[in-house]
């Protein structure tokens, strides 16, 4: 049985490598906000209030492009709706937590933290203090996101666009799923999702980001049925 502190540290260590993509992306995110002409305080406040990389950029781009507030809010909601799926997966491991703790820990559920903590949970179902892993992973991502978006706001145009730092985002997610390419069922689900995301890329409100996972999960259900 691991102590709270040990699990917390494991959470930190599990997401630490992803900083190679989170920090550049945070810097880009802060810099874009300033470039689009928003006030530094506002751009930074989004990192606390919304705390979701891609959705923050889309939100500012839409508003600066003259879109209505309703459209901007809807897009953020659609982009971040994938967290419903993360929550459904995590709920199994947080079952025993008090309601208040569930409310608090939910704020820290983000892509990379979910992915790495979920891998830990699957292998260590019987540990008592599982949620400390997500506190470690999500907390680390939160701190780094705050610092890096602030850095981007300050550095602004000093970050050369030619570097294409946004490319670090797909790379970090490749690192998360790449070990599953040895499993045929997972490959089928991944390709379904990837192709659907390209097919539906122009769907309104960036909804490809939730449409393609839903299609892929239906395919996963079919695959499970065939496996039996």
């Amino acid at each position: 049985m691991l102590s709270k502190k040990q699990i917390f540290s494991k959470g930190i260590l599990a997401v630490a490598p992803h900083m190679f993509s989170v920090i550049p992306f945070g810097i880009v995110c802060g810099a874009i906000g300033i470039e689009l002409g928003f006030s530094p305080v506002l751009v930074y406040a989004m990192s606390i209030i919304i705390f979701g990389g891609a959705s923050q950029i889309v939100f500012l781009q839409l508003l600066s492009g003259g879109a209505s507030a309703l459209i901007a809010v809807t897009s953020v909601g659609v982009i971040n709706s994938r967290h419903l799926l993360y929550g459904a997966v995590l709920s199994e491991y947080f079952e025993k937590l008090s309601f208040i703790k569930k409310l608090l820990i939910s704020y820290l559920v983000v892509d990379q933290g979910f992915a790495e903590s979920n891998k830990f949970f699957q292998k260590n179902r019987n540990e008592t203090h599982l949620h400390y892993h997500l506190l470690g992973s999500g907390g680390t991502l939160w701190v780094c996101w705050q610092i890096s978006t602030l850095a981007g706001i300050i550095l602004g145009s000093f970050v050369p666009e030619e570097l294409g730092l946004k490319f670090a985002v797909p790379l970090t997610f490749i690192a998360i799923v790449v070990q599953d390419i040895k499993k045929l069922d997972h490959v089928i689900v991944m390709i379904t999702c990837g192709l659907s995301s390209l097919l539906f890329f122009d769907a309104p409100f960036k909804s490809y980001i939730i449409i393609s996972p839903i299609i892929a999960l239906f395919v996963a259900a079919l695959v499970l049925r065939l496996k039996k």
Partner: protein, 103 residues
């Protein structure tokens, strides 16, 4: 007005994170649903990966000789064999930069 919009967007985002964790009883989900949920990472992350590689900042498809495709292939190979997140990200970025800056 922009502030109000951000706060609404933040509240909605928080609800997306919280709803399933705090408000839904896990026992309501049957075994089949739980089995399908095991595929969530594989079903979600390619929707970030594919457009991040194949679609450029202007929302159009890249050319088949785009350096991002080479970078992604290198990252997949390095990631698969090294099982190391840092090596995956760095190898992908560097191979991408080598093509755009040196070739």
């Amino acid at each position: 007005m922009t502030w109000f919009t951000i706060i609404v967007a933040g509240i909605i985002t928080y609800f997306m994170r919280m709803t399933m964790v705090a408000l839904v009883d896990r026992d309501l989900l049957g075994e089949r649903v739980k089995a399908v949920l095991a595929y969530v990472p594989s079903a979600v992350f390619p929707a970030i990966i594919f457009p991040g590689i194949f679609i450029n900042d202007y929302g159009t498809f890249i050319e088949m000789n785009d350096p991002k495709i080479f970078g992604a292939i290198v990252a997949i190979l390095v990631g698969y064999f090294s099982r190391n997140v840092i090596a995956t990200i760095i190898s992908g970025l560097f191979s991408y930069w080598i093509i755009i800056f040196l070739l």
